[in-house]
Amino acid sequence: MSAQARLSLERVSKSYWRGPHETAVLKEISLSVYAGECVAVWGQRGSGKTTLLKVAAGLEAPESGVVSFKGRDLRRMSRAELVRLLRGEIGWARRTGPESDELEMLDYVALPLLKQQTLRRARRRSAAALARVGVTDCSKGRWEDLTDGERTLVSIAHAMVRQPSLLVVDDPTANLDVLQREEVMGLLRSTAEHDWLGVLITVPDMPSMVHAHRIGSLSDGRLLVPSGASPERDNVVEFPGRGRAAPG
């Protein structure tokens, strides 16, 4: 029996209107992300990467095609179900930081939990999330004091604290040097493998893709995958008993 994709896009198209002109941003994109893998999509500026992520994360509806999460078509979900999905199952790492400059990172990362949990318990999980991404020493720091690399890692902890099934990150290596980039991308790969979640990232820089299990290139609204690979899962092998892992 084949594993079910955490996220699946089937022939998804999306356009924007700029005045009287319609611009097709995504043209019949098909892509799946499974638990245990990191999928990276590269594209030049304006190629539609962020739109792809928004559609994948259920924040924007496509004009045509189907977006499914764990086999469930997002179009068939009620608004309440969609909100639950976005809050609980999909973590989107945003590098915008907290709205308050005074917030310490331990509390910032704990924020998504506060509706369901006590502050004490939320802080405990926040500390674990910060430790998981290797920035425990930022717990007492404020956003403005952090380096770009630390901000990225704290954002990932913020998105991960609810233990989502799918982690979505737009350009996780922006402004990072080669060594910081290696750390962040290595972390995203190991997070997918060890925490058994699907990771979908978009990058404007090809070197960031080396750690991904599968890669694709977005150009003129179409997704191009390496020769011999399908946008689905052809180049990902299944390990008996454990589900899936990628070669290499």
């Binding site: 080669v178 060594l179 290696e182 290595g186 790969r189 070197p207 080396v210 750690h211 694709g216 191009l224």
Partner: protein, 194 residues
């Protein structure tokens, strides 16, 4: 650029036999375009110039009857040669590419084929990137060894070249697509085109 100095550098780091050096060359230089077989011609050249010499042999690992593998080590002359190369100037590689030439010499009726070729090259670039071995993941903190940083820097440069290539291919393809459409319309109207 031949693999000669790269192979010599690897032999100086650690003596090895042909296959071992081909594997290390691939690990170290990734997509630099050194063919694995280039190691053997590089070793022939290095030996004929007395820059490397045999340091004994090792039996084939899988088959006892297989020919023993010659292990190469650098000669003092080889070490001097490598040091000179390291200190010498590094010239910019010439840009010679068949697709560039084809585009420069093409006629409008060639556009459809050129668009296909550009897309095929783009796919090849992605396949090359997908085929690169990823660097070992390490835990956060602590300085990296220079050898590790050097490999990352070289890999970075290679992938950036692939990226630049893909970016150019996409732009060239978009322009050729546009002109090809115009050419097809013109041809349908019977316009005279060069």
């Amino acid at each position: 650029m031949s693999a000669k100095n790269a192979v010599l550098g690897l032999v100086i780091e650690r003596p090895g036999y042909g296959y071992d050096l081909a594997r290390r060359l691939q690990d170290r230089f990734g997509s630099s375009g050194f063919a694995p077989t280039g190691v053997y011609s590089a070793l022939d050249q290095l030996r004929s110039e007395a820059l490397v010499r045999s340091a004994g042999s090792r039996a084939g690992a899988t088959n006892e009857r297989a020919a023993p593998r010659t292990i190469y080590e650098a000669t003092p002359k080889g070490i001097d040669h490598f040091e000179e190369w390291m200190l010498g100037c590094s010239s910019l590689a010439p840009v010679r590419d068949e697709l560039y030439m084809k585009i420069a010499l093409s006629k409008p009726h060639n556009l459809s084929r050129l668009i296909e070729l550009a897309q095929a090259q783009e796919e090849d670039c992605l396949a090359r990137l997908a085929g690169l071995r990823r660097p070992a993941t390490r835990s956060r903190g602590g300085p990296r060894a220079w050898s590790e940083v050097a490999v990352l820097l070289v890999r970075d440069a290679e992938i950036k070249q692939l990226q630049a290539r893909v970016e150019w291919l996409q732009k060239a393809r978009a322009i050729m697509d546009k002109l090809n459409g115009a050419h097809a319309q013109g041809a349908a109207r019977g316009d005279r085109v060069a």
